[in-house]
Amino acid sequence: MWDLVLEDRRINSLRLVAPMWNGRIRGIHRLGGAVAPEGNQKKKRTILQFLTNYFYDVEALRDYLLQREMYKVHEKNRFRDKEWIRPDKYGHFSQEFWNFCEVPVEAVDASDCDINYEGLDNLLRLKELQSLSLQRCSHVDDWCLSRLYPLADSLQELSLAGCPRVSERGLACLHHLQNLRRLDISDLPAVSNPGLTQILVEEMLPNCEVVGVDWAEGLKSGPEEQPQDTASPVPA
């Protein structure tokens, strides 16, 4: 799903929507596996999207709920014309989108998109892009990351969480993005040593907050830290 945002944007808008969905639509998410809570919500969204692609009523329900949430969000945060532009039920953008031709695009959320090396051509033309989210894009690999350097002047936030083909070799080319302030490299299965990679990436981008991997992840707990649950009293 392509979501564009024009003019001044808030990252919060996306995060506000997800937890609300969690409250409304239960029963679909029975996911096991040791994933961080953030990741859990992302996986739930995937199941929902999968269902959405297959059942019109689920899609209609989701869009209806989305409209309601957006309305609430509007009320709360008082955006002035600052909403994410999303496609409607049939994947078409509304006509008003064309009025915004001249307005520079600031943030692109391409999560779960099938964007690939050639497709990045379109993104690289956006000279004022500040935030790019490529979460869980299955075709984004190290070669694609080496193409991101034209966005170096404007890009401040990049998220690569959950991309199965990105490894530490691709992360090495992110050092061109000197204006990056926030980088999310959580949940990258192809990275061989996440803790060490986090440290090296932090050294490479000193002004950037690198999120996603706890440096202590690779450390094993010592024998004296084994849980003694049976002995401890249950707190009231």
Binding site: D142, W143, L145, S146, R147, E168, R169, A172, H176, L200
Partner: protein, 486 residues
């Protein structure tokens, strides 16, 4: 011996239809099977030696349309493209003859594995660009059913070439050519260099060129195994053996100026088995010389270079093995994750290896310092005296380092102009060359393989025109010098 008594049609019929064959690429090789059955029947008849128990499965086949001498990355690339570009499935029978299946001395496996587009010749740049797109889509090119996808472990970190005052102008014009061909290279001044890579000492550096995309290094073994696997699935036969003899026939012809010229055509390749005197004569139509550092021996077997010096017959293939060392060292405070492959003004180069502060690199020796290529022993003093001082000057952090290991490999060094030899020989009409790339064969292998396959199948270069790389330039004296050899 048995071959002679068989009817003539069985032996020579590469293009004739034999009884029992069907159109459409039946992959069971009926021709071979029928001839084997006839051989067995004839050996049962009285008066002949009983050869039923002789097992020839370790020998290469008796006929093959194309014999590729050398099973490294260039040979396999030619085999792959021959099979990809053939007009119908099973049209061309290809045999790859490799002397050493462990590839212990082959240049491919011992290579540092870099790929870059920063050359001065447009053809070299185009070859590298094509190879980069080949490697990027390697799992579409080399996909084999039910086999896992290849992980090339490509590091897209780029190449950083440093130039001193006197080379700066040449570097600028090179970068202009590179940009024209479509390579993404940026020029940096010493200040920008210090800004981007604070660990560099820019003393003596006037200009630097940095490849931004499609440059880096990868695992050459993975490419080799991937090509091998794909090529075997396409029906190419492999044989472990050494080529010891070419049986050829000559024909005297007159040129348009009424000058006599002797054209040779190779009919048979004698492949000798390992550690034995047994050999198999393989009848073939085309021979491809992809023997790397030993290409000159193969060319000499075909009679290339036998003649008065200064004539076309007397022009030898000027490729010889040159030994190059690669050292691996550990430096805990060394350059970080963003380090490209840095090639210094002195010719020393280094790159990171892995996540753990290990680096590898080396330096090409000058003509006087050339080591003896008889073996692959490593000279550690060479690092102490000739490599380390330059590294420590360029990167002060390298003043404290510890060498972990080292190895040596051969360059198939073209002493004429350090660029590859591609295409047919003018006199030995069915020998094609794909060798002599002097250290950048691995990164140009996909493109060169395709060019040679086009030459063999269509008679001319179609996608990338490599006519400046033909053999005739050695006779005509037209050097195409490549300035950026690491």
């Amino acid at each position: 011996m048995i071959r002679r008594v068989l009817p003539h049609g069985m032996g020579r019929g590469l293009l004739t239809r034999r009884p029992g064959t069907r159109r459409g690429g039946f992959s069971l090789d009926w021709d071979g099977k029928v001839s084997e059955i006839k051989k067995k029947i004839k050996s049962i008849l009285p008066g002949r030696s009983c050869d039923l128990l002789q097992d020839t499965s370790h020998l290469p086949p008796e006929h093959s349309d194309v014999v590729i001498v050398g099973g490294g990355v260039l040979g396999l690339s030619v085999a792959y493209w021959l099979k990809k570009l053939e007009s119908r499935r099973g049209a061309i029978r290809v045999l790859v003859v490799e002397r050493d299946h462990t590839y212990s001395q082959a240049s491919t496996g011992l290579s540092v594995g870099g790929i870059c587009q920063q050359f001065s010749l447009p053809e070299n740049i185009q070859l590298s660009l094509f190879s980069a797109s080949f490697l990027r889509n390697i799992n579409e090119y080399l996909a084999v059913v039910d086999a896992p996808p290849l992980d090339l472990r490509f590091n897209p970190s780029g190449y950083l070439l440093l130039a001193s005052e006197k080379d700066a102008a040449a570097m600028e014009s090179n970068v202009k050519v590179q940009r024209q061909e479509g390579a993404k290279v940026s020029l940096m001044s010493p200040d920008q260099l210090r800004n981007k890579f604070p660990w560099i000492n820019t003393e003596g550096v006037a200009l630097a060129s940095y490849g931004m995309e499609d440059e880096g290094w990868f695992d050459p073994w993975c490419l080799l195994q991937g090509l091998r696997r794909k090529v075997q699935s396409l029906g190419v036969l492999f044989c472990q053996g050494e080529v010891t003899r070419f049986v050829s026939s000559s024909q005297r012809m007159l040129t348009t100026d009424d000058k006599a010229v002797v054209l040779k055509r190779i009919h048979e390749v004698h492949v000798k088995m390992d550690r034995s005197l047994e050999y198999q004569p393989v009848e073939c139509a085309i021979v491809i010389n992809a023997a790397g550092a030993w290409s000159a021996q193969i060319a000499a077997l075909a009679g290339i270079g036998e003649g008065p010096p200064g004539t076309l017959q007397g022009t030898k293939l000027p490729v010889e093995p040159r030994k190059r060392y690669v050292y691996v060292w550990h430096c805990p405070q060394g350059p970080g994750l963003e380090t490209p492959l840095v090639a210094d003004t002195s010719g020393a180069y280094f790159r990171r290896e892995g996540l753990g502060s290990n680096y590898l690199g080396g330096r090409s020796p000058t003509e006087q310092e050339e080591p003896d290529p008889a073996n692959l022993e490593v000279d550690h003093d060479f690092f102490q005296d000739k490599v380390w001082p330059h590294l420590a000057l360029r990167v002060p952090a390298f003043e404290t380092l510890k060498v972990q290991s080292a190895w040596a490999g051969y360059y198939d060094y073209n002493t004429f102009d350090q660029n590859g030899v591609v295409g047919p020989h003018p006199l030995v009409v069915n020998m094609y060359f794909a060798t002599g790339f002097s250290g950048h064969g691995l990164q140009q292998a996909p493109g060169v393989g395709r060019a040679v396959a086009e030459m063999v199948l269509k008679g001319r270069f179609q996608t990338i025109d490599l006519s400046p790389f033909l053999f005739t330039r050695f006779y005509l004296g037209e050097k195409i010098q490549e300035n950026n050899i690491i």
